[in-house]
Symmetry: C2
Subunit: 357 residues, 2 copies
């Protein structure tokens, strides 16, 4: 038997190249045996949450010319993917999703801090999680990203799962965990600026009215920001964000317009020491850079961020700013985000409003 590797390398079934395999996320096929390596955890699955982009792609594939969707065919394709690859990964979008379940076995060398019976959500992607479906998804009609499911999944030594809290509805917790990297990293960065500044730290959150944005505004304030600025795309959202009190200033600007964004943040008390980009539209790099003070930091959480646009944009503008790739993982990020939601009724109301629609 292969020795276990914390990355899950030992479960990759692809042919090794150059004497080394690929990582589970890049692999074609994973070993789904239920027996655990010593550092693994097995979870009894209750529900899959498919990634939204992946579900939309599957839906398009199974839409007939008259616009009707073949939901049975869509379900069959999900079953086929998981049976073939040993994981749920849409080959078109590359994305997966997450799952909810209950811990049923913990290897003796696991460091994930989980116990048998814990109800958990996995915070690593389904694209790297060994998964077996045992009920042919009989309770799912192929409609929507929420997939009731019986089966099991395996977590590696180096993985992330968060225990679902008793005091919050599951969907609300999942909705928060989905974006919990943003407030955690925002808090860390703002805290570092606050610790070494004698003046108040100014934080601008682009997309401050959204899920990750509102949590980041709350995190910035808790981490010691002297002034928080929420940037939103139109007046309706500005009114809503102002009502929450989460930001000291709320301004309307198109984040794709560099000069517009710069001037709007400046008018609200900027430039920002820390700018946080939480809007999933391309072309926000230049504006975020210009809205940020010399020696400030831009944190990019949007997956629409272009690496080269950020790198060349800062150089072209002679901007001495630190630019961070928004890492979705920090230790304790899920618990921190849930605590923010509990502490800030306005954040909770915003999340509940989104779940209701």
């Amino acid at each position: 038997m292969r020795a276990s590797d914390p990355t899950g390398l030992h479960r990759v079934l692809d042919d090794a190249k150059d004497g080394h395999g690929v990582l589970p996320q890049a692999a074609q096929r994973l070993d789904t045996r239920p027996e655990l390596w010593p550092d693994e955890v097995r979870v009894r699955v209750e529900k899959l949450n498919l990634d939204a982009a992946s579900y939309r792609q599957l839906e398009r594939t199974h839409t007939a010319s008259d616009g009707s969707v073949d939901h049975a065919g869509l379900r069959a394709e999900v079953l086929e993917i998981v049976a073939t690859r040993g994981k749920m990964q849409n080959s078109e979008t590359g994305s997966g999703g997450m799952l909810v379940g209950t811990v049923e076995e913990v290897g003796p060398d696991s460091h994930l801090g989980l116990a048998v019976g814990d109800r958990v959500a996995t915070l690593v992607s389904l694209t790297l999680t060994p998964l077996v479906i045992e009920d042919r998804l009989a309770r799912w009609d192929g409609r929507g990203e929420q997939v009731p499911c019986a089966g099991y999944a395996v977590l590696f030594g180096r993985s992330i799962a968060a225990v679902l809290p008793d005091d919050l509805p599951t969907d609300l917790s999942l909705s928060v965990m989905d974006v919990c990297g943003a407030p955690a990293l925002t808090a860390r960065v703002v805290g570092e600026y606050a610790a070494r500044s004698s003046y108040g730290v100014t934080v601008a959150v682009v997309g401050g009215g959204g899920k990750s944005g509102s949590l980041s505004l709350a995190a910035a304030r808790q981490a010691g920001a002297g002034r928080t600025i929420g940037v939103v795309p139109h007046e309706g959202e500005a009114t809503r964000l102002r009502a929450t009190g989460l930001a000291d200033e709320v301004v309307v600007a198109d984040a794709r317009n560099p000069i517009g964004l710069r001037d709007a943040v400046a008018a609200a008390g900027g430039p920002a020491d820390v700018s946080v980009v939480c809007v999933d539209v391309p072309g926000c790099e230049g504006g975020a850079i210009l809205a940020t003070a010399d020696r400030g930091t831009v944190i990019f959480f949007s997956m629409a961020t272009s690496f080269s646009a950020a790198a060349l944009g800062a150089e072209g503008l002679a901007a001495d700013v630190t630019m961070l790739v928004g890492n979705g993982y920090l230790p304790g990020h899920a618990a921190y985000a849930l605590d923010l939601l509990r502490a800030e009724p306005a954040v909770r109301a915003l999340f509940e409003g989104r779940l209701a629609t």
Copy 2:
């Protein structure tokens, strides 16, 4: 007359959208009038250095089916681009290049620190630099990226130009300036770790045998690294890098193989507190993340870096690492890199060797 903006917005001739214009880099056409706004500088141009990717694209476009290249046609296209757009920007690659010239006028409000008569290289891209060619490129035969040129260019309030030193050949200085952002940012980050660590800081430079890589190794050591590790793709380059003494350890690994890179750096004394990625091949994100210690930093200088691969990779590996978009600009970066070259004969020999081939 429009008021000047440090970004050069006042020279954008595109129609304004939403009351705001685009930045010069994204603009279709720039105003090339020789009269300066108060914060501008005009440079008498001596030579253009076309971006390598741009030149290769132009060459392909002007290659006939028999393989012959129409260099006159290539030259005519460069003239046409500059005449039409008021800047040199290849619409296919989006890239430009840089230029060498002599300062001929300095606006009273310029903060670039330049004086009339200074021989300078512009370190912002030609894609955002107003440019007029006055000699129809008569001294250029269309071959190669080095373009002798008579004409003028304009630098904005927020721009970068470096005075060419007297003690180094121009081509050597340009070759160093081309990658000078990497050593400057490496030195800053390594210095921050060194200042707060009681143990020695370990730095791994992936692509340590190249231009930006060798400078980054020298910068890391100067900034206080306790151990430097150079990662190169094959034994031949390892032998050359070992001979320079720039790295404490030199290891061979394919940077696209995550486990291979992780294990190679670990065997050389890693994981690294700071990993610097200087190789221009896609797929190095996972390996760089795995080669880096908990709470370490990865600096991505490669333009082949994928933002989403870095963000999702770190999350999938539960890696608490800071990931930086390698900003090509830091104050004083050109002078710092030239000083490294002067101080390290091995770096200079490496650069001279590359120029000779």
